[in-house]
């Protein structure tokens, strides 16, 4: 048996880098993998604060491990820490099941009392303050080969378990009731989840420290959540972000002497999150703002087109040209503003300006779009009045908003529903842009 163990040890030793920075990078990779994977579930199950509680709860285990293993054996420390973490998680559940206390109180109680117990115990055995500090605030530089070996083993167990159980765990996270109905052993799966959570905490302990481990469980996964809608991709991205944060944090804190690595890693992860928060293509805040702005511009353009159409309609479509002044009056705005709107319409090909620069007329595209808007408006008013029994004085406001967002499919439904009407509730004709395609001239 020892023969196989030593073969295993030699295999692992191949994986472990010789240099200090190599070791740091590997530690970052392992912590990124562990926390990144579990973090996805933590974020989706909305148990972020549970992660915080478990991570604080491991402290007494760490202290016990440091006290009772003379050569600072990582195996003992990891084992005791894991036991403490699991004990904490178990106590939280026990508290919630046996009393009226809710989850937030139970988590806070376990978090604080376990942590205090760890501090108290450590203060009795003053020996290894530096060692404890490394575990509290992280010191990636203090990770040696034997630590890495332990982390490698733990992460492998974690990754393999996650791989085999990813579907049941995902289903459980999404819909516990449904999982129960399928006959999944929900209690056991939940137990496994907390096991894995504790392992991921333990892997990250030396690099990030007890106090800030929960940052690595939450922030990279949340960043991934903003970038994708697919769970597999979320897990991969989360791991990548965890690794990047770990490496960045390790590198930066190496520059400053005496700075614990945990906070720097946490800040790196947050900065990364911040960048994604702003710039993520669909869910990022800036892209949402851009979308809103673009939509507002479009609405403005369409309202201008509508105004031009209405001027024409008011004159019985007698003239081809419309002057900027008339448009300004119709829209109730200054000529300057209206000129700007016209420029926008011009660049998109909706209108053509005459040589004198004062009057303009609609292009074919412009006619089509103007008619569509007016049609949408009047169709919607008719629908609200007839089908939804809205008061007549009401419908105009609503149609002003809706005319810009009616999609062709819905328009067709409306036309069919209302039996291809010709007049709106106020007696105005409903334009038929389709007719425009058949005609070769612009005037009606």
């Amino acid at each position: 048996m020892f023969g196989e163990m030593s073969v295993l040890a030699s295999v692992m030793d191949i994986l472990i880098p010789g240099s200090g920075s190599g070791k740091a990078i590997m530690a970052a990779v392992l912590l990124g993998a562990g926390c990144g994977l579990l973090g996805c579930f933590v974020v989706l199950r909305r148990v972020a604060l549970m992660g915080d509680a478990v991570s604080h709860a491991v402290l007494p285990g760490v202290v016990a491990g440091l006290i009772y293993s003379s050569e600072r054996s990582p195996g003992i420390i990891f084992l005791f820490a894991a036991v403490a973490g699991l004990l904490g998680a178990g106590l939280v559940r026990l508290m919630m099941m046996s009393t009226r206390l809710k989850s937030d109180a139970a988590l806070g109680i376990v978090l604080a009392t376990f942590f205090a117990f760890g501090i108290m115990w450590q203060s009795r055995n003053q020996q290894d303050t530096v060692g404890v500090m490394n575990f509290l605030f992280g010191n990636i530089g203090s990770i040696d080969a034997s630590d890495l070996r332990m982390m490698l083993v733990t992460t492998s167990i974690l990754v393999v378990t996650m791989f085999f159980l990813r579907r049941p765990l995902l289903l459980l996270s999404f819909d516990e009731g449904f999982s129960r109905g399928l006959g999944y052993p929900v209690k056991i799966l939940n137990g496994v989840f907390y096991f894995l959570l504790t392992f991921s905490v333990v892997v990250a302990l030396q690099a990030v420290g007890v106090v800030l481990v929960s940052a690595m469980l939450i922030t990279p996964a949340a960043a991934a959540y903003l970038l994708t809608d697919r769970f597999e991709r979320m897990m991969i991205l989360s791991v990548v972000f965890g690794v990047v944060s770990g490496i960045t944090g390790g590198l930066v804190s190496a520059e400053v002497n005496g700075l614990p690595t945990g906070p720097v890693i946490a800040i790196s992860a947050t900065v990364l999150f911040g960048v994604i928060y702003l710039f993520a293509p669909r869910h990022g805040v800036l892209s949402k703002v851009m979308r809103t702005l673009r939509r507002r511009m479009r609405v403005r353009r369409e309202n201008t087109l509508k105004a031009i159409y209405q001027i024409h309609e008011g004159e019985g479509f007698a003239h081809e040209e419309v002057s900027v002044l008339m448009l300004a009056r119709k829209r109730g705005q200054t000529e300057e503003n209206v000129s700007k709107d016209c420029k926008a319409l011009l660049s998109r090909g909706f209108i053509e300006m005459a040589e004198d620069g004062v009057s303009l007329h609609l292009s074919r595209l412009g006619w089509k779009r103007a008619m569509e808007i007016v049609r949408n408006h009047r169709l919607w008013e008719l629908y609200l009045t007839n089908e939804a029994d809205y008061a007549e004085d009401h419908v105009h406001e609503d149609a002003e908003k809706i005319e810009h967002i009616l999609e062709p499919g819905i328009v067709r439904q409306l036309e069919q529903h209302l039996d291809f009407p010709e007049l709106d509730p106020h007696g105005k004709p409903i334009p038929q842009p389709a007719h425009l395609v058949a005609q070769s001239t612009v005037t009606i």
Partner: protein, 254 residues
């Protein structure tokens, strides 16, 4: 200041979106004083939301609300609110009397404590619903019907002019249900206006004198005999206006 002619509640174009879902769309209604109104509609029609948005608990994205002719903010004290039982924290360390006393807090301001007058009002309210003997019980320790009565007592203690009640008949025993109906009628006799979100269509026709038919939009409002008709009920319950809800969905996401 003649406000006898003012409707107890008036809304105009009240629109509410909740988490980018349209829930209420352009509600226009004027409820005359002294009416006993049942608010009915299918599940998810926005009945609770209607009450909550009137109270200002849920923000509206359009329209306005007036109570006795004034904006809600100015006449808050004239409105009594009875919430859904499922939204209450039954583990909270308060007794039946504590809850009834809460109804008197409105007139007390920030610093004054409830005195003899308030305690009397609370006791009378509890007596009216038959819960006075339970004054010292913690509220989690009661049956569904008893819990509902305690909240009714609280509303009575408020001595408001307009009452908004959210599904008070859910999960109560028959005796409590009858008692509540009697109580509501008594309140109407005293000139109060009561609006009740009700889940059961059949009894709605019997309990109330006005009905508000709601399905994301106002389908109809009026006296029971005018509005409790097959056509209108079909319009309310027979599936949503699909186009309206699709479009409202789109609009809400903006």
């Amino acid at each position: 200041m003649n406000d006898e002619q003012e409707p107890a509640l008036e809304t105009h174009d009240l629109t509410v979106t909740y988490h980018k879902r349209p829930v209420l769309y352009g509600i226009d209604v004027a409820v005359p004083q002294g009416s006993l109104v049942g608010i009915v509609g299918p599940n998810g029609a926005g009945k609770s939301t209607f009450i909550k948005s009137v109270m200002g608990v849920v923000p509206s994205s359009g329209g306005w609300v007036k109570v006795f002719g004034k904006p809600m903010r100015e006449n808050l004290h004239r409105v009594g609110y009875v919430p859904q039982r499922e939204s209450v924290d039954w583990d909270f360390p308060v007794t039946v009397m504590d809850v009834a006393l809460m109804g008197t807090y409105g007139g007390l301001g920030l610093l004054r404590r409830p005195g003899k007058a308030e305690k009397l009002r609370a006791s009378e309210a509890l007596d009216k619903v038959g819960m006075l003997p339970y004054s010292n019980r913690q509220i989690g320790n009661l049956s569904g019907g008893q819990q509902q009565r305690v909240f009714l007592a609280r509303a009575l203690a408020q001595d408001s002019d307009l009452y908004l009640m959210d599904e008070p008949f859910v999960g109560v025993d028959a005796a409590t249900e009858a008692a509540i109906v009697t109580l509501l009628r008594e309140m109407r006799e005293r000139g109060k206006t009561v609006m009740v979100v009700h889940h059961d269509l059949q009894s709605a026709g019997e309990y109330f004198d006005h009905l508000l038919l709601l399905n994301m939009r106002l389908v109809a409002f009026g006296a029971v005999q005018d509005v409790y008709t097959p056509e209108l009920l079909q319009k309310t319950y027979g599936g949503r206006l699909t186009i309206l809800s699709e479009v409202a969905d789109q609009a809400a996401k903006l």
